[in-house]
């Protein structure tokens, strides 16, 4: 049997019988997206939770001047959705785009409701996910309000160790809320502090 990152994720986080988790896995739709394709366009209602089995997604908005702002990246092992859009059945403010060829598992509300009945622990787990999500967002807002570009960068690479190798620098700059020039300056300053050739 093929090993799925998603099954690993479920096994680690939900105290339930393996057979039940396998059943859960089988209930989810699976879909592959080519690099550059969209899972959600802004204005769509985001009715799904995506688990990224393989690949990389970004969730971003476009402002009135046409500038993109990246809310988050979601590499393999992450969950991504738009809680506001999903719970209020409101058009999302964000696009979700595949930055690499990406495979996802898709959970919709119907599956979630059904599963909550089958797996009593699931609502507990869902609550935990929500708490994590809020914590992340709080940290992110706080960094955007108060941290220097270098502090934001260091916190970013801690959370996403390999994203810098997978996306262009302007996207990282967009996530950090700084210009690509500032990001380049931050990286140069770090290099001048830390680079010791042939020592």
């Amino acid at each position: 049997m093929q090993e799925y990152r998603f099954l690993d994720f479920l096994t680690t986080n939900i105290a339930a019988d393996q057979a039940v988790l396998n059943h859960l896995l089988n209930q989810c739709k699976r879909k592959s997206y080519k690099k550059g394709s969209f899972l959600i366009f802004s204005g769509d209602i985001c009715e799904y939770i995506f688990f990224i089995e393989k690949g990389l997604l970004r969730q971003y908005s476009i402002d009135n001047k046409g500038k993109e702002h990246i809310l988050q990246f979601a590499p393999e092992g992450w969950l991504l959705n738009d809680r506001e859009s999903m719970s209020l059945k409101k058009g999302s403010k964000f696009n979700i785009e595949a930055l690499e060829d990406t495979d996802v598992f898709i959970l919709d509300q119907e599956i979630m409701d059904k599963l909550e009945q089958e797996i009593p622990n699931l609502s507990e787990f869902n609550k935990e996910l929500l708490n994590n999500h809020i914590r992340q967002l709080q940290n992110r807002v706080n960094l955007l309000l108060s941290a220097t570009a270098e502090e934001r960068y260091l916190s970013f690479v801690k959370m996403y160790p390999d994203i810098l190798l997978r996306v262009p620098q302007w996207m990282v700059a967009s996530y950090l809320g700084i210009t690509p020039e500032s990001l380049s300056r931050v990286r140069k300053e770090l290099a001048s502090k830390n680079f010791k050739p042939n020592s």
Binding site: L154, L165, P197
Partner: protein, 291 residues
């Protein structure tokens, strides 16, 4: 001495682009049974089969990226590649030349079609190999070995059958210019039609042939066509090839390092912790900076 037979022959995978300058078929590690463990010490092989690039004012290539824990070997058959790195190194790999870069403890580099070549464009063909480093050498200083055309050792084959260009290791006592951290033999066999060559490598070495041009017969029977790769079995030491039409064959044979491999993207280490550290070092500027 026992005969070394072909284990299997594979056709090239569908090509993909690395950056916008290299249209490659990956053999190692994506082809089943050509994984890093089985092909040890050869952990990656991208083959840019002959491809015609139109003229371009801005050279095509791959932007700045890091490497750590292994060596990259670039063999240019057609076209020219320019490269630069974060420790100030750089150069041009011309047709028929080889560049052996030891990434060691970490380097940032970029590689592009050479500027003048890019302006006219033309046929481009090359191989990029990654050769693993033993654990004790993974943190060695980064360095380059450029093997220029006139530095390549050539061994003439009998009956005017062509020659063997030795890059590393040796062929019949003639040594190649490139030094290696673990025992590796690397050479191009350039055979005229009907030309023959014999090889002897220890049975346990990982041995593989890539057909750059033409076609050959191995041990008098199985034929390998252009752009195909043959993995040799570990069942003997000796094999012979004969060109059924004028041929260029990249011959690789290396002693397996037999150490754990933890690889992610451009870093190849021994453990997961070392990989995490590699990413941290890269993110914190320890590989330097290159624009």
């Amino acid at each position: 001495m026992k005969t070394k037979n072909i284990d299997f022959i594979v056709a090239p995978n569908p090509p993909h682009f690395v950056g916008d300058g290299f249209r490659v078929h990956n053999f190692i590690p994506s082809v089943p049974k050509l994984d890093m463990q089985n092909m040890d010490p050869f952990i990656m092989m991208d083959y840019n089969s002959k491809y015609n690039f139109p003229p371009a004012d801005k050279p095509r290539g791959v932007g700045v990226h890091p490497h750590k824990g292994f060596e990259t070997v670039t063999i240019a058959y057609k076209g020219k590649v320019a490269h630069h790195d974060s420790s100030g190194g750089g150069g041009v790999i011309g047709e028929g030349e080889i560049q052996w870069m030891t990434a060691g403890k970490g380097v940032l580099h970029k590689e592009y079609h050479e500027e003048e070549w890019s302006k006219t464009g033309g046929e481009f063909q090359m191989v990029q190999l990654w050769v693993n480093l033993p654990k004790k050498d993974k943190s060695t200083d980064a360095k380059y070995q450029a093997v220029k055309y006139d530095q390549i050792s050539r061994v003439e084959l009998p009956k005017n059958g062509g020659n063997i260009e030795v890059i590393a290791g040796e062929y019949n006592g003639t040594k190649g210019a490139a030094s290696t951290f673990s025992p590796i033999h690397m050479m191009n066999a350039k055979l005229k039609k009907g030309g023959k060559a014999e090889f002897n490598f220890p049975a346990n070495y990982t041995t593989t042939l890539l057909l750059i041009e033409g076609s050959i017969k191995v041990n008098g029977s199985e034929e390998i066509a252009t752009d195909h790769l043959a993995l040799m079995a570990r069942d003997g030491e000796h094999f012979k090839i004969e060109a059924t039409e004028e041929a260029v064959v990249l011959v690789l044979s290396g002693e397996p390092i037999n150490e754990p491999i933890a690889a992610h993207g451009p870093f190849v280490m021994n453990t997961r912790d070392e990989l995490v550290k590699a990413f941290n070092d890269f993110n914190n500027g320890k590989f330097g900076e290159l624009n």
